[in-house]
């Protein structure tokens, strides 16, 4: 016997959470694009997607975050800090790759300086992940030693029932248990079998790739130029990536007042490493693509002992020229044999 949340009770759960002051967030369609966003009722949720177009990270690390307001007067510069919006949130219907992505980035946002904007939201959010029963050609979590029902980064894991009528509830953390306590009466004990999680074939050998990447000789390999020849240098892969976390601080506004903002930035952009002098140490797109791969599978693991990739496959899925991590690591796998 396991706890079961039946689909028809979900709306009541949403109502319960909301009336308890929680913001309920989940995958929704917004003008032909799917995204995690706040909902008022369960009917808004779109839980049939393989994956939302946009990743979960923007709920914790928005694309543009105001940090402080400044006003310049003759005597002084007045500043007024922005804090992230506070209040408990429940993110219902995350995917394992997205939730894992958050866990991957936690050490990054806290290793030398604790990023309040990230952690306040992390501490106030309950992540309810639904294990995947379907995948597409781009999914690759298994190649990253994760799985469609990985619990990494999640507070609750829901396993869809075979009959599609609800989910088995696995409470993973205290925060998750706490959130589900308030809806305990809406859950039922049952023995409905869970549907099988989808099998995502392994596409590359991440360990072998890591070894190849660590070899300094391969840094200047012709491979980088060839694999990235068609890269057009947009930031779509990095911005949709649940683990890419680079940002830029910009002051924006008029002559006497403005807002300091933390905006996403991307290593794909030529401007990312441009020096004031005009010199650009990563002057070619291949150097930039190499950086992205090196960072995710060599530098980041070197520092935080985990690949900076949770295998969601969005990079390839949305790439205008059908590039992505999968192809690159598949090719590296071949090279490393």
């Amino acid at each position: 016997m396991t706890k079961i949340l039946f689909t028809d009770k979900l709306d009541s759960c949403v109502e319960r959470w909301r009336s308890a002051g929680m913001t309920v967030i989940g995958p929704v369609q917004r003008a032909n694009s799917s995204v995690y966003d706040a909902v008022k009722s369960a009917s808004e949720l779109d839980l049939n997607l393989v994956l939302t177009d946009r990743s979960i990270k923007e709920l914790f690390f928005p694309q543009s975050e105001p940090m402080l307001r400044y006003a310049i007067t003759k005597a002084e510069i007045n500043t007024d800090e922005f804090l992230p919006p506070s209040g408990p949130r429940i993110i219902f219907g995350a995917r394992a790759c997205d939730a894992s992505g958050l866990a991957i980035d936690d050490p990054l946002f806290g290793w030398d300086y604790k990023d309040e904007y990230w952690f306040q939201r992390r501490n106030e959010s309950v992540i309810v992940t639904i294990a995947c029963t379907k995948a597409d050609e781009f999914c690759m979590c298994t190649s990253l030693k994760l799985s469609p029902d990985s619990t990494k980064g999640s507070d609750i894991l829901l396993r869809p029932l075979e009959n599609n009528k609800g989910w088995q509830v696995e409470e993973l953390t205290d925060r998750g248990r706490e959130a589900f306590k308030s809806v305990a009466d809406l859950l039922q004990e049952g023995s409905d079998p869970a549907a099988a999680t989808v099998t995502v074939p392994e596409k590359f050998n991440a360990d072998a790739c890591a070894e190849w990447l660590k070899n300094p000789e391969n840094f200047e390999s012709r491979f980088w130029k060839e694999i990235s020849a068609r890269c057009i240098g947009c930031g779509s892969c990095t911005y949709l990536c649940p683990t890419c976390h680079c940002f830029d601080i910009q002051d924006e506004g008029g002559s006497f007042e403005g807002i300091r903002r933390k905006n996403w930035d991307s290593c794909s952009f030529a401007l990312f490493t441009m020096h004031t002098s005009g010199h650009n140490p990563r002057s070619t797109q291949s150097a930039r693509w190499r950086q992205r791969i090196m960072h995710k599978f060599n530098y980041f693991p070197g520092k935080f002992s985990a690949n900076s990739c949770s295998g969601c496959g969005r990079c390839t899925r949305e790439c205008p020229v059908d590039m992505g991590i999968t192809e690159t690591l598949q090719e590296i796998s071949k090279l490393s044999q």
Binding site: T73, K74, S255, F256
Partner: protein, 656 residues
């Protein structure tokens, strides 16, 4: 860190009566980057300027905003004052709180609010101003005078007599223009040709003047001090260098019945011709359209008659490129086509003629040798009706202005008629008699009192032929009665209009023109002889209707302008020009196409080995006039305009 000085001028009461200058000064005093904000009654006065200079020195100001009248008034004044205090003049800007604020608003409170915005926005601009240095460009000391009438000749002679080179271009075969067509000139009645022809000869023989007749301007490129002018030398079909002007060809030419342009159609000329006997140069041209050989391939009588073998039917138009420093435009006027007035019968009745035709009749060298004979039958007219304002001051015919000379020449015509036809009766219909000028009113009085010119105040409604007489029906508004006069000849005082191709010509040389096609001066009162384009000056009736004294005066004035320009080897220009950032320029050449002055060139950027890596736009500071059209076109924001940079404008807008 910016240290801006703000100087708020009361302009007596002009600003202070509406704008609360104390509040303004205090608001700006609190503005970041403002080191000093003071008000004063008249900053343009000597003590006012001194206080600006003192503030610059005392506070080490990095920029100055003078909140006062329009920059069009005193920008130069205050920039000069700044320069005298050691501040780059381009670090000074004017905030216009008079013409565009205190004078136009009733509500003092709101006017003050607006003034604060205006000055604040300008302070933000000045913070981003860059020091600029005037641009020096060399001056080619050679003037081009376009038009060989009295104005052009006068300008050319004045410039040449001061020792500078002149190229004088005339599109007709001879110098002379309209003045050569006149009989006698008011108010002295001296013979036009007698005073004109010596000038023509002087110009033609002047060692500093190069005369190009039967020539037209093809194109003008370049800019003040450095124009490149292409001139088309139309084929005369007569070799200039060998022709002696003996006139044999003209005598022998079988096509003798071509209406003479010079005689306004009253006289006849041949196909090979000089416009008039005293033509300068005295070298004939062949009128291709009327020449039997050109029409039928046969004739060549002129070739046979020429003792020096000067006729060359194969001659082609030639082009000559000239390097020019300054241009005087003296292209003159035309007379309006009187056929516009169907009710006056011009074009229908041979004896209804215009004033210029009357000049030819009265001219001793004209087709009637100075005898007043009516064109239809050569009879001496016993009664002549003159109709003034036949075209001028008539918006319905497109001429709203007064042609200025008609009152005077009609009086003159009446006089000449009285002198030549004893007992002849003249009747002049007029709206007003405008006789302002030295000796002018005395002249019209003389016409009335001594020569019995019969002035009738009123308009003519109709002219028709009845029993061999031209019946003129009009109204005498002083008596309040309609009048009908049986006349033998009617003379219309036709409007002076711009040359029919004036607008096209203005575009070719790059100057402005008004709705009528008269060329625009830079300022009607203060810069009346300069066109809107630097280095191009105006003389004579091409700018507006003028009589001879006015044309000559303006010609001499434009010559003075040219000579002032030629007095220095180099010329200083405002450094408000475009500058390109070659590192970001993508070389799309949009700016090159958009530039009205062809001031943007394509420049190769080479690597060390000399290989071209990329091509970028490069602004020629001599040609650039600073309009900024290129800046707006540039998608990558690579090109910018000094004095109105993107940063400056951005700050101005964001400072509002």
């Amino acid at each position: 860190m910016s240290k801006i000085g703000v100087f708020i001028c009361h302009c007596g009461e002009n600003i202070a009566a509406k704008v609360d200058c104390t509040r303004l000064a205090s608001a700006l005093g609190d503005h970041p980057g403002v080191a000093s904000s003071i008000e004063y009654k008249y900053f343009c006065s000597d003590p006012g300027q001194e206080s600006v200079k003192k503030a610059i020195r005392d506070n080490n100001l990095t920029g100055v905003v003078v909140a006062a009248c329009s920059p069009r008034m005193h920008e130069a004044t205050f920039r000069k004052a700044c320069a005298e205090a050691g501040l780059n003049p381009y670090m000074c800007e004017i905030a216009n709180i008079r013409e565009q604020c205190s004078w136009v608003h009733n509500d003092g409170e709101k006017a003050t609010d607006k003034a604060i915005d205006i000055v604040r926005s300008m302070v933000e601009k000045v913070k981003r101003n860059n020091t600029l240095q005037p641009i020096e460009v060399p001056v080619t000391r050679r003037a081009l005078v376009i038009g060989g009438g009295i104005a052009g000749i006068q300008a050319a002679l004045d410039i040449a007599n001061a020792g500078q080179e002149v190229v004088l271009v005339e599109r007709e075969p001879s110098l002379g223009g309209h003045m050569a067509q006149l009989s006698e000139t008011f108010p002295t009645l001296d013979c036009s040709q007698c005073i004109m022809t010596p000038r023509m000869v002087e110009a033609a023989q002047h060692p500093k003047i190069r005369l190009l007749t039967y020539a037209e301007i093809e194109s003008v490129d370049g800019y003040i001090g450095n124009f490149q002018v292409k001139v088309r030398l139309k084929a005369r079909y007569v070799n200039k260098s060998t022709c002696t002007g003996c006139g044999e060809c003209i005598t022998k030419c079988p096509s003798k019945k071509i209406a003479s342009e010079f005689d306004c159609g009253i006289g006849r000329r041949t196909a090979i011709y000089t416009p008039f006997a005293q033509a300068v140069p005295n070298i004939p041209v062949i009128d291709k359209n009327n020449c039997t050989y050109f029409k039928n391939g046969k004739c060549k009588i002129c070739v046979k008659s020429c003792p020096l073998d000067c006729i060359d039917f194969e001659m082609q138009d030639e082009f000559e490129d000239l390097e020019i420093g300054a241009i005087v435009v003296a292209t003159g006027f035309q007379v309006q086509n009187n056929a516009l007035y169907g009710e006056y019968g011009y074009g229908k009745y041979q004896d209804v003629i215009n004033g210029l035709q009357f000049e030819r009749l009265a001219s001793a060298s004209g087709p009637t040798a100075g005898k007043i004979q009516r064109p239809s039958d050569g009879k001496e007219p016993e009664t002549v009706v003159f109709i003034q304002c036949a075209g001028s001051r008539d918006p319905s015919k497109g001429v709203k202005y007064c042609s200025k000379i008609c009152c005077m020449y009609t009086a003159k015509h009446a006089m000449l008629y009285a002198h030549k036809v004893h007992g002849g009766k003249s009747r002049i219909f007029y709206m007003d008699i405008r006789a302002a000028g030295k000796g002018y009113d005395e002249f019209t009085r003389r016409a009335i009192e001594e020569d019995e010119a019969g002035y009738l105040r009123g308009r003519v409604s109709k002219v028709w032929l009845e029993n061999g007489k031209l019946m003129v029906r009009g109204v005498d508004t002083l008596l309040g009665k309609p009048v009908e006069i049986a006349a033998d000849m009617v003379v219309l005082a036709t409007a002076m209009i711009a040359q029919p191709d004036a607008k096209e010509f203005a575009k070719t040389i790059g100057i402005g023109y008004d709705e009528y096609g008269f060329f625009n001066e830079a300022h009607l009162k203060l810069r009346p002889v300069e066109s809107s384009t630097a280095g191009i000056y105006l003389a004579g009736a091409c700018q507006s209707p003028k009589d001879i004294p006015d044309s000559v005066a303006q010609a001499s004035a434009s010559a003075a302008k040219v000579l002032a320009l030629f007095s220095k080897e180099k010329l200083e220009r405002e450094p408000v020009i475009a500058v390109n950032n070659e590192s970001t320029c993508a070389g799309c050449w949009g700016c090159v196409l958009a530039c009205p002055y062809d001031a943007i060139e394509k420049k190769d950027i080479k690597d060390r080995s000399g290989k071209v890596i990329k091509r970028v736009a490069s602004v020629n500071p001599g040609l650039c006039q600073g309009c900024g059209t290129c800046v707006t076109f540039c998608r990558s924001n690579s090109i910018d305009l000094a004095g109105f940079t993107e940063k400056q404008i951005f700050a101005e807008v964001m400072g509002l």
